[in-house]
Symmetry: C2
Subunit: 428 residues, 2 copies
């Protein structure tokens, strides 16, 4: 039986701040980065994971993955990848490391990177892409991977099992449909705050031509700019394409309500991250105050306990899971189950480096056996940095096409990892 023999990390960064790709009202100059991890066994099996960051500090996540990695070294691979619930709990609830969160920030994201790399080994072992692995797992095994700690008051293992058992009905048809025609996407490519009006209009038109049903614009820098840019985008895409707006937590509660209401004439579909994602009560107030604009959040929601409360408080219309913010696949299964329980659609956050590659699996799985629906559900798409991945996302007709290679999608091309290794790589 094989054992884990190494947990190797690389601090991979791309100098995206040079082009203002990814610029918004809060993240003004991100260098999209991946704290990248490769777990190896003594029989040559490999698993890859990554955690997205904005540049500075990426080295702290790689360091944290190495620290947590000590808890995996020497362990039997099979025991880990066929007891992924236990494997995750061993990391997340380590009695000393727990203090660093608990379950939030650098330490939690690092756990997620490692947990994901273990899932990658499992998925490769079974020769399936993650979404299909999950979709074909039994409800019992899926439930066994979920940590119900501090969400049990609204979702019990029994509730979760019931959702997944309902999801078994006709799942083969849904799986076939996913393989055939994929899952809807929307694009944020046109809307970065650092782009000129001309670039915004051009990219908005291209988005419609490319078949996207929604585009997203960054807002909250300056109200008059927002009005002008929304007017330009609305003319460019016409009345039938949704335009979402994203404030990246820039506002206070009342400020969010007032600002969004001054943009109502452009008919924004949702307002994303109107304020701190820690602020459940403010999201609930904002949702009441900006109706009929929907409220979306999640890319910075640090764990299932915050999502649970956003749902309990009726604070969100759209739940945006992120593939590398929480403690990996397990916690995102919990998040999908919570959303299904409250009948709130999940529209994952993506972009950055590798987030599209990873997060698509959750929407495919969600459709196959959790919510069973594509209604009001879309995966974010941003056309950045996909060329560095072994299996870059494939978008056609505004839809993500089903990933086919075994694994979770995190493996990068080795030359890219070496070239953009910070700061010794040739790219820097």
């Amino acid at each position: 039986m094989s054992k884990i023999v190494s947990v190797n990390t690389t601090d991979v960064r791309f100098p995206t701040s040079l082009e203002l790709d990814g610029s918004d009202a809060v993240n003004v100059d991100p260098d999209y980065s991946a704290a990248y991890v490769e777990i190896s066994t003594d029989e040559g099996e490999k698993g890859y994971g990554l955690v997205f960051t904005c540049g500075r500090g990426n080295e702290l996540v790689t360091a944290a993955m190495e620290s947590y990695g000590d808890l995996l070294l020497g362990r039997e691979t099979e025991e880990l990848i066929y007891n992924l619930g236990d494997a995750s709990r061993r990391l997340v609830h380590d009695s000393q490391l727990r203090w660093l969160g608990p379950e939030k920030g650098v330490s939690h994201m690092a756990c997620g990177g490692l947990v994901n790399a273990l899932w990658d080994i499992r998925a490769r072992h079974e020769q399936k892409p993650l979404w299909l692995l999950l979709s074909e797992m039994s409800p019992e095994e899926l439930v066994s991977t979920v940590d119900f700690t501090h969400i049990r008051n609204v979702l019990t293992p029994g509730d979760a099992t019931a959702i997944l058992e309902r999801g078994q009905e006709n799942k083969q048809e849904r799986i076939a449909q996913l393989k055939e025609s994929g899952f809807p996407a929307y694009t944020t490519t046109p809307g970065w705050l650092g782009y000129s009006d001309e670039k915004l209009v051009r990219l908005s038109k291209e988005a419609v031509q490319d078949g996207f049903g929604m585009i997203k614009l960054k807002v909250a820098g300056n109200l008059e700019d927002d009005k002008r840019r929304l007017a330009l985008a609305r003319s460019a895409v016409g009345p039938d394409i949704h335009i979402a707006i994203d404030a990246n937590q820039r506002w206070e509660e009342q400020e969010a309500i007032d600002w969004v209401n001054q943009l109502q004439e452009y008919n924004p579909y949702w307002i994303e991250e109107p304020t701190s994602t820690d602020d459940i009560l403010a999201h609930a107030a904002i949702r009441k105050g900006v109706h009929p604009v929907k409220v979306a959040t999640g890319e910075a929601v640090h764990n299932r306990i915050i999502f649970k409360q956003l749902l309990q408080a009726g604070a969100i219309d759209v739940m945006q899971i992120d593939s590398t913010r929480v403690a990996g696949v397990n916690e995102n299964i919990a998040n999908l189950l919570l959303a299904a329980h409250f009948e709130v659609p999940v529209c994952p956050h993506a972009g950055g480096v590798g987030l599209c590659e990873l997060v698509q699996h959750f929407s495919f799985f969600d459709y196959a056996v959790v919510s069973g629906s594509m209604e009001n559900r879309m995966i974010e798409f941003v056309d950045h940095l996909h060329e560095h991945f072994v299996e870059p996302v494939e978008i056609s007709n505004g839809r993500y096409q089903a990933p086919e290679l075994p694994g979770i999608g995190a493996e990068m091309l080795q030359p890219a990892v070496e070239r953009w290794a910070f700061a010794a790589g040739a790219g820097w």
Copy 2:
């Protein structure tokens, strides 16, 4: 004018797990540790800070302080220590590092360590202990240090100024009183889960003899054990001494209510950390469900935004600030102001390494110019590891005596830092 020339960190750990000091239902084997930092200027000024952790992972906080420290190197000391609001914002809101939290976990605690070290330079510069420095600052300067981002909806700078202006009345009398007779303490020394019944009883009796008005017991391992230990403690201390209980986040919502209600006959004063500190809504439900037992939390509350909501939701009776969980002195000023605004008493968390030394300053300041009250207010005391500090806390008649040396209290004795440096120090 002097400049910051170095930010040096040391990973200091004590093997406390050998004696089960500090053992509770979640933290079963902590090695109390300090991520220790020394900031130096080119004119030889020094400032010391520390972040408490439970052992493994301490190296991640020192690494994070070094990363954030890069933002301070070369800056003019005076510009930083006389604009501590700006200095803190520059760290906390760094446009790339922010993603690692935002404002939570390893990155946020590291900011706190550095911000505190800057306050240490300022306090030494003015030859005052922190509590007196704060108490003698103008309301305007105090307000300028606070980051009102995402708390403005309940506390404006105007509200904060009004609280502090009210606090100027008779403050010299309160300062004199603090210097004369200190501030009430309670002790957790008797109540660790790993201690025998005999040790529990003996230490409980000693606590009463030492003049403490409250002791605290760890609970939530096993209900029958909790009943037996509470009964023993109640016999040992008599009916007039408060006994607080602390579950260290062990329970689910309903479990907390049921468990605490089965301990009502022993008349516990508060239940601390009944569940996840992320769970505002569960705390609100638990508070309703365990009346008249009070609900206390805070040592793991990661920022002012969570405290704000706990107060808004009426979820806590007692707010327990921690000196090294949040982004330093500035954020704890915000926390004290929020508590004063909602008229909730602050009983700081302490123990660990250095937490007593640091956090006492906030209660002294709170009494001098924020709440102006000692009613239902006590600082936690645990008799561990004080001997390693330049100015160990002084407790007499169950009260913290006013610290007198200039600074924030974080400076450790250099031989101790060297001896317990992990893992190269002679102590290991």
